[in-house]
């Protein structure tokens, strides 16, 4: 399975010497990073290593202080978040950020937003084309909910869903934007082992069946080692290691970052 996913046609995303400073604090420092098409790449590192900052630079929430990010031949640097989505980058959030007071299907419909053509006056006049478009969108949204294991939860308010379902709904909401690259920020945080296993399988299926490229921030090493084609390790905003899960696991600097200096020396 992993063999089939090896990069055949180059990199989907290329970040060149990206730096992000907040005043005097350097959150991300001079990072070169690329994601091969069709791969699952994990970004790991201790808390505060700059992983989420890096995510936010890709998705347009932060503008890199230095460096540039290219995606599928287009410049991402300095684009607005909604423009980045339209180019084909979707994301989920570390702390779940669903639209809590909207139903599950409405959450997914928001993900469909920019695929729908209707304009505001058409919403008021509601010509047949809009009625059809809305009906198709709803069917599509429910299909995605079924796919992510939320069948029968269509009209439940997002905030009333159990925790694992909320995580799944976040992914279901990101999918209809038809991304080429999906960024998942700690998708298994707070899940029990069974839920984690199901989600890991699901992420793998997204790659295999929908052809998505996936960038993952994850703390659960079992998930990272089991699913990734490549792992990049950040510490204090710098890239300290990169390679296959096996290579990274054996890297002294990585062990040091995670377990402290003594551990690396002893091991």
């Amino acid at each position: 399975m992993t063999a089939a996913a090896q990069p055949a046609d180059g990199d989907l995303l290329v970040a060149t010497s990206c730096t992000k400073r907040f005043g005097g604090l350097v959150a991300v420092s001079d990072i070169d990073f690329s994601i091969p098409r069709g791969s699952i790449v994990s970004l790991i590192g201790p808390n505060g290593a700059g992983k989420t900052t890096f995510f936010n630079m890709i998705t347009g929430l932060y503008i890199p202080t230095e460096g540039r990010i290219m995606f599928d031949g287009a410049e991402l640097t300095g684009r607005k978040p909604h423009e980045v989505v339209r180019l084909g980058v979707a994301r989920t959030f570390q702390n779940i950020r669903l639209f809590g007071n909207m139903s599950a299907e409405d959450n997914v419909l928001v993900g469909l937003h920019h695929r729908l053509k209707g304009r505001w006056f058409e919403a008021i006049l509601r010509p047949p084309s809009i009625i059809r478009e809305e009906a198709e969108a709803l069917a599509k949204a429910r299909e995605l909910l079924d796919l992510t294991g939320l069948k029968g939860r269509y009209t439940t308010l997002a905030r009333n869903l159990p925790y694992g379902d909320q995580r799944r709904l976040e992914i279901a909401r990101a999918l209809p934007t038809q991304p080429k690259l999906l960024l998942l920020d700690e998708p298994t945080a707070g899940m029990n082992p069974e839920e984690t296993r199901r989600l890991t399988d699901f992420v793998r299926r997204l790659r295999d069946e929908l052809g998505l490229t996936i960038l993952l921030i994850e703390h659960d090493m079992k998930v990272v080692m089991g699913i990734s084609d490549r792992v990049t390790v950040l510490d204090h905003g710098e890239k300290i290691a990169e390679g296959s899960p096996a290579e990274v696991r054996a890297d002294n600097q990585v062990i040091e970052a995670y377990l402290g200096r003594g551990a690396a020396g002893g091991g």
């Binding site: 607005k80 978040p81 639209f99 809590g100 729908l116 159990p162 925790y163």
Partner: protein
């Protein structure tokens, strides 16, 4: 009902038992329309038959309907998009003044109201964008302060432009561009008379139907139609791509942007569409009253509309319309009735005998804002989601999906579900998540169902 053992929320017998949602809503809608048609005709007879009941007069209902239009418009900004706007009266004033400029002897322009109303709506929408554009980055308190300032500025500008002189400075020749002492807005006196809407159909009422305060029954029908149009537009906006985008921004602006929503244009659309309804109401009010003056568009109007949508149930269309009728009925009819019939005389007598001036001049109507303040405070504590909140409406509307959870059966269970909602509204959502996390999966209520 008096015993403490009964649940706090008393379940009423359901007259629509057994009807599906569509049918039930149709029945209610037809009922409301029939009532609206019949009431103004039978109002006088009702009043003489049951004089002890404080019936709202037709002109009071016109005020109610006008404020329902205002509330529906503000609900787009506050209820859907979640942008706090305390200067909403500005657009009401802009709509009314646009009408006054284009259909009165003030400038000698007399365009038909049916054309003017379109221009007034457009003008209000334009100013909505003008207010929205610079304030897009503001949220919450900051936005409230800026909008509040905008509302006051518009009122003061309309008041002060009654006497304008605009001249070039002396070194540029000193030519007078406007004035001297030009009267653009009528100043404190306002503009009067404004042409009311008319339909040239001859009949027992004369050559044409005139929708002015001289003819409240016809005017009520007109404003009722305007309210109907507004309501329909709001329903359609809510159930559209744009409505979902507004709510997504209200819930989480960052996540909304991450879903591909252009938050800038979406928020501007909320401001301008919300403002346009206010302009709509203003165009009607100006023409119906046939006179306007700046001081009637004061801050209290903005606050009253905010009170209406919070009491009615913010975000709920049905809620804010009922809220508008309830608040203005209390404001215009009930307080006056209670004052005149019950409270004023004894309290004034008490004031006369004790010599306390405050009591001697007592008139309940003057205490309306105190009373609304108390009602609002009690509501915030007891039922912060409003009288007719969105969620219960949704639970009813989506009978299919929610049925498993709310159990379409007895209304007692429904009341219970409402109770839970109240609690959840107050509690930190984080706490809920933690609980869900710690519960073993098999015990989760979600999995059991």
């Amino acid at each position: 009902m008096t015993t403490a053992a009964r649940p706090r929320r008393v379940a009423l017998p359901d007259p629509f038992r057994g009807m599906d949602r569509k049918r039930r809503e149709k029945v209610i809608l037809i009922g409301v329309i029939l009532l609206a048609i019949v009431y103004p005709i039978v109002f006088r007879s009702l009043e003489s038959a049951f004089p002890f009941i404080p019936w709202p007069g037709t002109s009071v209902l016109i005020i109610c309907a006008t404020f329902a239009i205002l509330a529906l418009g503000l609900n787009i900004v506050m209820g859907f998009a979640g942008l706090l706007d305390l200067g909403y009266v500005a657009f009401y004033a802009i709509g009314a003044y646009t009408t006054a400029f284009l259909a009165s002897p003030h400038f000698g322009i007399h365009i038909s109201w049916w054309v003017v109303v379109v221009i007034a709506v457009g003008a209000a929408a334009l100013f909505g964008i003008l207010l929205g554009a610079p304030t897009l980055k503001l949220r919450g308190d900051y936005l409230a302060i800026v909008t509040l300032g905008f509302g006051e500025i518009v009122r003061i500008v309309f008041r002060n432009l009654g006497d304008v002189t605009l001249a070039l400075p002396a070194f540029l020749g000193g030519a007078v561009l406007i004035g001297p002492n030009a009267n653009l807005t009528g100043g404190n006196v306002g503009i009067n008379p404004i042409d009311p809407p008319t339909i040239p159909i001859p009949g027992p009422w004369g050559n044409a139907i005139v929708f002015s305060n001289q003819n409240p029954i016809a005017s009520f029908y007109l404003v009722a139609v305007l309210l109907g149009i507004t309501f329909l537009v709001c329903v359609r906006l809510r159930d559209s791509k744009l409505g979902r985008a507004w709510m997504a921004i209200r819930e989480d602006e960052t996540a909304a942007a991450a879903m591909g929503i252009n938050t800038v244009t979406t928020k501007l659309l909320a401001f301008s569409l919300g403002a346009s309804f206010s302009g709509f109401a203003g165009a009607f009010t100006g023409a119906y009253q046939t006179a306007i003056f700046a001081e009637s568009f004061n801050f209290a109007v903005s606050i009253l509309v905010v009170v209406i949508i919070i009491l009615g149930g913010i975000g709920s269309l049905r809620g804010v319309v009922i809220g508008a009728f309830a608040v203005q009925y209390v404001n215009q009819t009930l307080l006056r009735y209670l004052g005149d019939q019950v409270l004023n005389d004894p309290i004034q007598a008490l004031g006369a005998s004790t010599g306390i001036a405050l009591l001697r001049d007592f008139n309940l109507v003057n205490y309306n804002y105190l009373i609304f303040g108390i009602i609002l405070a009690v509501m915030m504590i007891r039922r912060p989601e409003g009288l007719f909140p969105v969620e219960t409406a949704r639970a009813e509307m989506h009978g299919i999906g929610v049925a498993a959870e709310v159990t379409a059966g007895s209304s007692d269970e429904l009341a219970l579900a409402e109770e839970v909602t109240v609690v959840e509204g107050i509690e930190e959502p984080v706490a809920e998540e933690t609980v869900a996390e710690e519960t073993p999966p098999a015990d989760r209520p979600g999995d059991v169902r």
